[in-house]
């Protein structure tokens, strides 16, 4: 192609090219600064990744050999950052115990432990809070300190821990003393203060009127000769002199004999544990298999029903003797045009057991009030009904497009032979459109397989299954089950969720492969 040959021609290096180099240089500088920051924070993997991407980007935009990649680089960067990287990251998380109990790295957990304090029971001080201009100051009065008292440096109201120095003073601050009512209002600020006296004693708020002496619970264990696993992270308890060390099996700090676990936990690699749990823990395995079956049934039924209704409607709309086809078409597309989240929520309200209009109508006509959300079979039927309503216009649109490509003379010939509409449908229409339709049906199956929005907004999995370790419901499909494990309200287990997501990757990958085969066959 001549366009690619052009890129090597001499004429391209103009002032524009220097501008490009300047822009790339600026972007690179910003990114290098970011990389240094990340490296300093110990995020080695991220730093490397950004470095590699920045280097590749600079090469593509400066070198002439990389010219053709200039157009593809931004989109590849986007696809790899927002699709590929999250997929790989998810698989990685599947092999860890990352969850609401094991949220932080070992490093951060150690820092948290080192910052823990306890009341030593030593001297305690009554305090007065002074307003001095925009800032605040504390006066601490000891029980037996006579006239002398401690005065802290001024501080502002901040919702984060602050360390304040206090010094011996004989005079009071110039501002006004705040009444106890205002002190109570500011107690969340006061509770975060850490006041250091000149002799090194630390004080923290112990009650609404007192500050008391505190001390660190843990200090780092400096004895390099002791044999603990991960000993450089080990800590000594100042109260008992016991050593605690991080247990790399459970993800918690434990004492020497391993009987006591001290939270918060940290994230560790647990190998295949999450996958083993899916297939052996009866509280997960049972729901998982049930949900998997239902997911397949749900996706298959959705595709079937939407296809049947969509095809019939497409045939009707295309049928010329039926006048006003344009209006019918517009009205039939309406369920597809309204954003799905709105229509799903509308159905959630309409199907409501007590206030819903559907039950009102059924009650009036037949005197029944079905329990759409608590009966398993009814809930499942409702999900399918709503999904058919949502999905048939898409199938109809596709079918209309395909019907147009069938030559008219086929129907002409069948009409001469006196064929019925049903014969036309089964012997001409369906055989003519089924081949190009198959990849679309597979794609539709894959979409419904992962149709989280429908389940999350309509039933949220209801009715709940009994005997499940993690919340699982009868209408849950695999993704919504995963979603609830990861972001539900009962303790978030990201590791387990990622393990199930990894299993779904494999299934979707398989569907995608089948789809690719079917598409290739078409050509």
């Amino acid at each position: 192609m001549s366009t690619s040959a052009m890129s090597t021609s001499r004429a391209t290096r103009s002032s524009g090219a220097y501008l490009v180099i300047a822009i790339v240089a600026v972007i690179d500088l910003v990114l290098l600064y970011g990389v240094t920051l990340m490296y300093a924070q110990g995020e080695l993997a991220f730093a490397m990744l950004v470095l590699v991407l920045a280097a590749a980007g600079s090469w593509v935009f400066i070198s002439r050999k990389g010219y053709n990649y200039r157009y593809i680089y931004p989109s590849l960067l986007g696809v790899s950052t927002f699709i590929v990287f999250p997929l790989i990251y998810t698989v990685n998380v599947a092999f860890t115990n990352y969850s609401s109990n094991h949220l932080l790295s070992l490093e951060r957990v150690r820092t948290i432990h080192l910052a823990k304090t306890f009341r030593t029971g030593g001297e305690s001080f009554a305090f007065k809070l002074y307003q001095e201009g925009p800032g605040l100051r504390l006066v601490l009065i000891g029980a037996a300190a006579g006239d002398e008292h401690y005065l802290t440096e001024p501080f502002t109201e901040r919702n984060e821990p602050q360390e304040l120095k206090a010094f011996v003073s004989s005079h009071l601050p110039t501002g006004a003393v705040l009444p106890i009512r205002k002190v109570i209002k500011k107690r969340s600020v006061l509770q975060k203060l850490d006041i250091v006296l000149p002799d090194g004693t630390e004080l923290a708020m112990t009650s609404l009127r007192k500050f008391g002496a505190i001390a660190r619970v843990y200090r780092p264990d400096d004895h390099a000769d002791r044999q603990y696993p991960e000993q450089n992270a080990a800590l000594i308890d100042n109260r008992t002199g016991q050593t605690i060390y991080p247990d790399m099996e459970t993800g918690y700090y434990t004492n020497e004999d391993g009987t006591e676990q001290i939270g918060p936990g940290f994230t560790i690699y647990t190998g295949w544990d999450n996958f083993v749990r899916v297939f052996t823990d009866p509280g997960i395995q049972g729901p998982f298999l049930k949900i998997f079956t239902w997911t397949v049934i749900f996706a298959a039924l959705s595709v079937t029903f939407t296809l049947v209704i969509g095809l019939l409607m497409a045939c009707l709309v295309q049928w010329e003797p039926l006048k006003g086809n344009g209006v019918y078409r517009l009205l039939l597309i309406l369920p597809y045009a309204v954003p799905a989240f709105i229509s799903i929520l509308i159905f959630r309200g309409l199907f409501n057991q007590n206030f819903g209009e559907i039950n009102l109508l059924l009650d009036m006509l037949f005197g029944i009030k079905p329990e759409w959300f608590s009966n398993e079979l009814l809930a499942k039927s409702m999900v399918i009904i709503v999904n058919t309503w949502l999905g048939y216009p898409y199938m109809m649109i596709l079918c209309i497009g395909l019907l147009k490509s069938i030559p008219d003379d086929l129907y002409e010939a069948s009409a001469i032979d006196g064929a019925s509409p049903a014969q036309n449908l089964f012997h001409i229409t369906i055989p003519m459109i089924i081949k190009p339709l198959i990849p679309l049906l597979i794609a539709s199956f894959a979409f419904n397989f992962n149709n989280l929005v429908l389940i999350a907004l309509l039933t949220d999995g209801a009715p709940d299954m009994l005997h499940a370790t993690t919340p699982a419901g009868a209408t849950d499909i695999l993704v919504s089950y995963t979603f609830r494990i990861a972001f539900g309200s009962y303790g978030q287990d990201y590791g387990l969720a990622s393990a199930i997501a990894t299993a779904i990757f494999l299934m979707v990958g398989f569907i995608a492969w089948v789809n690719l085969k079917a598409t290739r066959q078409l050509q």
Partner: protein, 296 residues
């Protein structure tokens, strides 16, 4: 049309027509219902299809105007619906524009330029677009949590993070645009090249003006997809004023705080403009869905 007509045509047409009307009645029932509910008094009143004593209270509340009840008490709007709608529109416009820029240049390279691994990259894109972002939510959540340590406006609970996360929907659009580019004869670009145009100039001044229809379709498709997206936004956004419409609307139908009437008005108010946009553009959207998307 000289088609052979069966004798009982009239009878058949009427059967089809009645079936169609019945079907439409069932299909459109939810829409009639929701409009009727939005005009009812109170959140719990059950009534007939046409409200007996219509009131605009839910509409006032949806528009953020406090409503004075008959007994003189004032009802405050329960949720900032207009803020949510505005958030949704902001996110959708910025993310769709970014998707359009990135996927257009990418599609140009795939359709016109030669480079290594082109076929493999295309196949990879085809497969990747079948993996929805839903499956990698844990990673997306964790990723933006960490980005937030460095860049706060891209961290959790920011509209920036949602906008960026939506760029993942790009793979499908690259295919769509590439399919369209391939239907345009490249002799025009070759002529431009002979006159000394760089590939960039051929792309910018020859190909792009010819592709405005598909660019519009991709923008609208990305816009609608982003407005209707629920899972990613529900995970990334937390505070009431930052929610997008899709996440916020759910708050209305909590079992503890069931605001059916208020929801109805908010749903009609926010659903209407999007529906109109879709219907106005349906001709092009349908064309895009059936042609570009399915080409192998």
């Amino acid at each position: 049309m000289a088609m052979v007509q069966p004798r009982n045509l009239k009878y058949r047409v009427w059967t089809a027509r009645i079936l169609m009307w019945l079907f439409l009645l069932v299909i459109l029932f939810p829409f009639f219902m929701i409009i009727s509910v939005s005009l009812r008094t109170g959140n719990f009143a059950t009534g007939s299809l046409i409200p007996e004593n219509p009131s605009l209270e839910h509409w006032y509340l949806a528009l953020g105007i406090p409503w004075e009840n008959a007994d003189g008490s004032i009802t405050q709007p329960p949720f900032p619906v207009l803020t949510w709608l505005w958030n949704s529109i902001k996110v959708a416009i910025i993310s769709s524009a970014l998707i359009l820029i990135l996927s257009t240049t990418g599609a140009y390279a795939f359709a016109r330029l030669r480079f290594r691994f082109k076929q493999q990259m295309l196949t990879a894109m085809m497969i990747l677009q079948m993996f929805p972002a839903v499956l990698a939510l844990v990673a997306i959540y964790s990723l933006f949590d960490q980005i937030g340590d460095f860049i706060p406006w891209l961290g959790l609970d920011s509209l920036g993070s949602v906008t960026l996360a939506y760029l993942g929907g790009m793979a499908l659009h690259i295919w769509l645009i590439k399919g369209y580019f391939e239907t345009i004869d490249n002799s025009l670009e070759e002529a431009a090249a002979i006159d000394g145009a760089t590939p960039w100039q051929a792309f910018r001044f020859v190909l792009l003006p010819l592709s405005v229809p598909i660019l519009a379709v991709v923008f609208i498709l990305a816009f609608i997809a982003s407005i209707a997206e629920y899972p990613v936004a529900s995970v990334l956004l937390q505070s009431m004023d930052n929610l997008t419409l899709a996440v916020g609307s759910r708050q209305y139908l909590n079992p503890q705080n069931y605001l059916w009437g208020d929801f109805a008005a908010a749903a009609v108010l926010s659903g209407f403009p999007i529906t109109i946009i879709f219907l106005a553009c349906q001709r092009w959207i349908v064309g895009g869905l059936t042609s570009g998307g399915v080409k192998g």
